[in-house]
Amino acid sequence: MKADQDKCIACKRCFPYCPMGRIQTFGRHDRIPGRVYIEIDQDACTDCGMCLRAKICPVNALFQPEEPWPREVRGVLSNPMIEFLGSQTPGRGTEEMKTNDVKGTFLPGEVGVGVELGRPGVGAYFRDVEAVAMALMKADLGYQMAAENPVTHFMSDKTTGKLREDILGEKATSAIIEGKCKLEQLPDVLKVLREVAGTLDTVFTVEVITKVPPKGEIPIVPVLEKMGVWYSINSKNNMGLGEPAYKFYDDEP
């Protein structure tokens, strides 16, 4: 996002709308005496478009130029109005458990593990995303990256989690690593995430997905409780109403 120097009057109305915080500085116009304008820190800005959508600028100075690769990746992952065509799903990730009832993405004995870097409201550089992805793959825990996920799409080597060199300096409001592993590997996967968390200059949210069996305990709960890992009381829950239903068990009708 940029502010047109010839239009901007430095009224600062756009400042609080930026999800990345105070990333603007002031400049003095070299051709209009006394005119002050704002400059948006192009390294800190993720091109999410929030300030523009807020329609807060009284002189229409804000504009989003068409960005070439690799900067283009910022808007693709940060602006919710832009769809990443590689995933065929609006948003920053995949369908994950939302369609598990018809797709069978997460089978009994498997756990989905997602890591969303930069969220909430901090932002993440792709070098941080790469650090987490490579730590997960280096641990050799059978973590399988979701092929249709945008971050996976940007990997130059999906077996190591290495991202394309040209995007490492780019920043997104958030970027999600999505994948799955076997239930018995979940404690080790979480240990890897704990270790890598201390090395980053950003935050990440962690989410785990499981198929709920028809009877008995939710499989991931005893694992989390044994490890002393906090999990939220609120969860995302698939109602199992999609059609045609995926057959998870042999004795299902």
């Binding site: 609080p16 709308y17 930026c18 999800p19 915080g21 807020a54 919710p80 109005m81 769809e83 065929q88 799903t89 609006p90 948003g91 920053r92 990730g93 369908e95 994950e96 458990m97 939302k98 369609t99 598990n100 009832d101 018809v102 797709k103 997602g114 969220r119 909430p120 409201g121 901090v122 409001t173 958030s174 999600i176 704990r194 968390a197 980053l200 200059d201 950003t202 935050v203 949210t205 962690v206 989410e207 785990v208 997905i209 499981t210 709920v212 906090w230 999990y231 939220s232 009381i233 609120n234 969860s235 995302k236 829950n237 698939n238 109602m239 199992g240 109403l241 999609g242 059609e243 045609p244």
Partner: protein
């Protein structure tokens, strides 16, 4: 995409906060899903959502229900936010009898959602996703009180500075709490922002900050 999962708050507050999402599946039922998604939206609308939208079109605070419906295409994901469990029970009863055919998820307090399903005559939750919280450099996050509000937009489009500015505006008598919360709902294009919950959280925020400590 986990943008309705990481909402923060107390049990009391989150117990009145549900995001119902309709999602067709690529390679399974996405082709020809537009009428099913419209049917799902129309059913949800009857049960009194407090917000509703599609991230690529916007929500009922920045466009109309007719516009949202008319822009649904194959593959569109739609979201409806509700503010009490009775609405969820009645919605699930209708969805059980008249299934649109696309996948439906509900984000909310897990045991409350399960109770609603049981009351509606549905079985167990099919698949579940837990948030394990925020890890890493958490000292960069805003205060928990502000986090409760900003995490209602999973795409993080409600800036913490905006919340602080709005608290200041309300304290100075420039706008009402309701006006501020509707503007926050406009920022969250998917329609995940729960306006009644937002108003309740805003009222809790007001005494916590003095004018000089704000944006």
């Amino acid at each position: 995409m986990t943008h309705s999962l990481h909402r923060r708050g107390t049990r009391e507050s989150l117990s009145n906060d549900f995001v119902v999402l309709g999602c067709p599946s690529t390679g399974v039922n996405k082709k020809g899903s537009a009428p099913k998604t419209k049917k799902f939206l129309s059913i949800c609308y009857k049960h009194g959502p407090v917000n509703l939208g599609d991230m690529k079109t916007g929500n009922i605070y920045n466009t109309t229900m007719d516009d949202i419906l008319s822009r649904v295409t194959d593959g569109t994901i739609v979201e409806c936010t509700f503010d009490n469990r009775e609405k969820i029970v009645s919605l699930l009863k209708e969805l059980k009898e008249d299934r649109p055919g696309i996948s439906i998820t509900i984000s909310g307090v897990a045991d409350v959602v399960q109770q609603c399903m049981t009351e509606a005559g549905l079985g167990r939750i099919h698949s579940l996703e837990y948030s394990l919280g925020t890890w890493g450099k958490t000292d960069r996050l805003p205060d928990f009180e502000i986090l409760q509000t900003v995490t209602m937009c999973g795409h993080a489009m409600i800036a913490s500075d905006l919340v602080r500015k709005m608290v200041r505006d309300v304290k100075r008598g420039r706008r009402t709490i309701e006006e501020c919360c509707i503007e926050m709902a406009e920022c969250c294009s998917c329609g995940n922002y729960n306006v009644p919950r937002g108003i309740a959280l805003f009222k809790e925020l007001l005494p916590l900050y003095s004018l000089h400590s704000l944006y």
